[in-house]
Symmetry: C2
């Protein structure tokens, strides 16, 4: 993806996050990116191409992102892992809020546009990471347990993104928020780790 296209795609992501899929139009992207009218239409000839551009750019950004989540150094401590995961989640709902919102919008879109699914590879990387951790911790069915864990934390993320401040949840970004998040992640981790009944 050329630099120009990436810039346009970034503008598009911002639009999707702030105005929804409905706000994603060629001309709106032009305006957002501060380029002459018609540019987006030239680089992404159809709307489908534009949406795919957004999805692809999201994937690119996700791959560029460094996520260590505290699993690299020292012994495997569930509490430290939860702490690390909470940190990542917190980032995704503050600094990376727009990207995260755009991602959810695209996921919903992929529901009725199967061709997006391949590009997006929903949760592929977090899941792999979670699986590695669970394996290391001696989980009996890492495949399934990692899927559960990612689903849980994704739910946490979504809940706080769309219901932000709705019911006494601390505002994201604050240490209290992170602490509560870490506690929730610990709960999720404990839940999936425990021996099955």
């Amino acid at each position: 993806m050329t630099e120009r296209m990436a810039a346009l795609a970034d503008a598009a992501i911002h639009l999707v996050a702030t105005k929804g899929m409905r706000g994603l139009t060629h001309r709106a992207v032009d305006a957002q990116a501060g380029v002459p009218t018609g540019s987006t239409s030239a680089y992404f000839r159809t709307r489908k191409a534009l949406v795919e551009g957004v999805v692809q750019r999201l994937a690119e950004l996700e791959n560029a992102e460094v996520v260590e989540a505290g699993m690299t150094t020292g012994p495997l401590d569930p509490d430290r892992l939860a702490e690390g995961a909470a940190h990542v989640l917190d980032q995704w709902m503050t600094t990376g809020r727009e990207r995260t919102l755009a991602r959810y919008a695209c996921l919903l879109e992929a529901t009725h546009h199967p061709e997006l699914r391949g590009i997006l590879a929903h949760g592929e990387r977090p899941r792999a990471q979670a699986r590695a951790v669970l394996e290391a911790l001696g989980a009996e069915d890492p495949e399934r347990q990692s899927r559960e864990l990612v689903a849980f934390t994704d739910g946490l993320l979504f809940d706080r993104l769309v219901g932000a401040g709705a019911l006494g949840a601390p505002t994201p970004g604050t240490p209290e928020s992170r602490a509560e998040l870490a506690q929730a992640v610990r709960a999720a981790l404990r839940g999936v780790l425990e021996p099955r009944s």
Copy 2:
């Protein structure tokens, strides 16, 4: 909400679920509902009104829904509760798939349209139900734990809706799917119930 409006709103929900928010236009609703062009525009004069109609209808439908989740009869057994919850979730992703998808779309929409938030009251009822259950089970902080539990199960739901069949998950509606779902819900329940470290 009059019967006519409800019919239009139902058609609108179907459109949102199958085509996304972008497919929600006055004329498309007319066509979907099989009424003369212009009807939707007469009942929901602006697009904002139309979206609010959808959200309101979703709330109406949710309130009309009977959810017992196995918490009414017999002693409180976490396993039976998980079973009941899994059953409800399974329904939401099969019979009620469109409503669930529309709900997620509206939640995302509410992110940049605060006035929708009040009508939608995201997860209010499930959370109240979860809180009651957790209280009965002697949880130490039902308020927070219920929020976690609902977030977890919502994550489960979302994951299976958007990634359906992606990674070896059984197709929704089958007994295997329900069983796996129940297992995941049990994990969530255990996670939030356990005494905090």
